[in-house]
Assembly symmetry: C2
Homo-oligomer: 314 residues x 2
């Protein structure tokens, strides 16, 4: 079995001109007065979440937030959410309603409506959330340029810290649990970075290790990442120590933080970053540089370190 | 556990103003120069299909055709398809590619592109297909009027005939198998009926028995159905006899024919039907009348008969 990206490449090859942009997180369709941005995203019980970790409402919130995060990375404004939910025969109406209340709350938090969906029976809980948004000009992942700075919003690794705690039978620190259960799609931040001239943007679902590679491949550029600069969620410190790796590596190899990774033109400097933080209330940190060539080159304390990505599909 | 419609009602109640139109098959969003129509639809292995019945390519075609059928009922023109696929760990790349080739073929058959999707691991095969289309004015299910004629396209019951054959361990008749495995969404027919002034339209996924009830409730009208007039797929004759019911009842209680059910103004007469058939190549048959009041009143050979719907969720 191949990884997700290899499989999508095989599908794109087989479909040829009947398919377009399958490797992007979002589809972008032209409309009369701008662009419609659409994304669809599945969460599967036992793969993406477990009910001994999360309540039903949190599962719904997280699924919707993860899908909305793809719109944030395009600089788009969410308008509508559709939720296709597969429900095991043993589930109660209350559980289903709670899950959908979570979906509705995540949509409402970014001023989007839940406009439709589908209910089916199946062997496990599963949600497929489709989100629609509008923008004048979507930010691609394929347009990073030599000389751009590489920036991330927020702090990384909180979601992984929760996962590692659960996996070893522990309880996550409150901050880590919130990062996993209640992520906030960076809609406002995405719009601001797009307006500030972002050349390329992704949301961090596959971890910095995975998504910097996606950015490098899609844009056909080389990327230098300074791991020392990576902003680390405080909950990482303890979990990284248990695994015997640096908090920076722990954070950069953790998935599903749903922060934004942006290639900003060189004019976006420390002053621009301060202005962004004041306006959005969200931290932004420079973690690298786009250069000519190919491949990702990561260093910590002056020594190279190859980062792993985060792939649910493995 | 409640049925699908009751559950959706509970969800709509819980979400209140954060949700809109959850009981419709499609969401309709205004755009600059018309309306965007969106629908999402899950198919689950063991619930909606089985691989001892269908090949992977047929599963993909059927899933996409079922979703596109919702656009047909709005009179919309499909533009784009997204496919979220959940794949068991045991599946091969070839099986996944074959399924997606089926999705691509169904999209291509109605001039739509596959523009995106998602791949996840999970306990069974599952596809959630989201379709997007455009129209000037979507046809609702809530606007049937007193005096309208009730019409259906094509012939009904083929899909159920295949299901019944498989369930009793037999092989379906070729026509029945095709109806189940390779349904054609009635896109062209839907556009023509919309242009001819359709007051309300649905696609027949829950069977005539289920969907006439949906139409009656959504439009707050009474509907009289003349079962003798229902156009029956020839494969129904044998299967209906085995069950000891009339072919008309068998066909009207079978789901997933993906034909259109339309409330047409009284000016749409036999001549209009002939013109529609000549232009579209698809049969259209009058099976009832919209009246004031509420409820569905079905008769066969002059005697009343209450029809069952078809609900995967039960």
């Amino acid at each position: 079995m191949s990884g997700e990206f290899e499989r999508i490449k095989k599908i794109a090859e087989a479909l040829g001109p009947r398919a377009a942009g399958l490797l992007d997180d979002c589809a972008v369709l032209p409309t009369g007065d701008g662009q419609l941005v659409v994304s669809t995203d599945s969460s599967v019980e036992g793969v993406h979440f477990r009910f001994d970790w999360l309540r039903h409402q949190e599962v719904g919130w997280r699924a919707a937030a993860a899908a909305l995060s793809d719109l944030a990375a395009e600089g788009a404004t969410p308008a509508a959410v559709l939720a296709a939910v597969v429900v095991p025969a043993s589930a109660s109406d209350d559980e289903l309603v709670a899950l959908m209340v979570g979906v509705g709350a995540a949509a409402a938090a970014v001023d989007a409506l839940v406009v439709g969906g589908d209910l089916s029976r199946g062997p496990a809980w599963m949600t497929t959330i489709t989100v629609l948004g509008w923008t004048k000009h979507a930010v691609s992942r394929a347009s990073a340029r030599t000389g751009d700075g590489l920036w991330v919003t927020g702090v990384l690794g909180g979601s992984r810290a929760a996962l590692e705690a659960w996996k070893r039978g522990g309880e996550p620190a409150p901050d880590a649990r919130t990062a996993f259960a209640h992520p906030h799609p960076r809609i406002d931040a995405g719009r601001r970075l797009a307006a500030a001239g972002a050349h390329a943007m992704l949301d961090l679902s596959d971890g910095l290790g995975g998504d910097v590679r996606h950015l490098s491949e899609a844009s056909a550029v080389s990327i230098e990442v300074d791991l020392d600069a990576v902003p680390v969620a405080s909950a990482c410190l303890d979990e990284a120590r248990r695994l015997g790796i640096s908090p920076q590596q722990f954070a950069a190899e953790g998935g599903e933080d749903f922060e934004l990774l942006a290639a900003m033109p060189s004019e976006f400097d420390a002053d621009s970053a301060m202005a962004f933080q004041r306006a959005s209330g969200i931290a932004i940190t420079r973690v690298g540089t786009i250069a000519a060539g190919s491949g990702v080159h990561t260093a910590i304390a002056g020594r190279p370190l190859a980062l792993e990505g985060f792939d649910h599909f493995r």
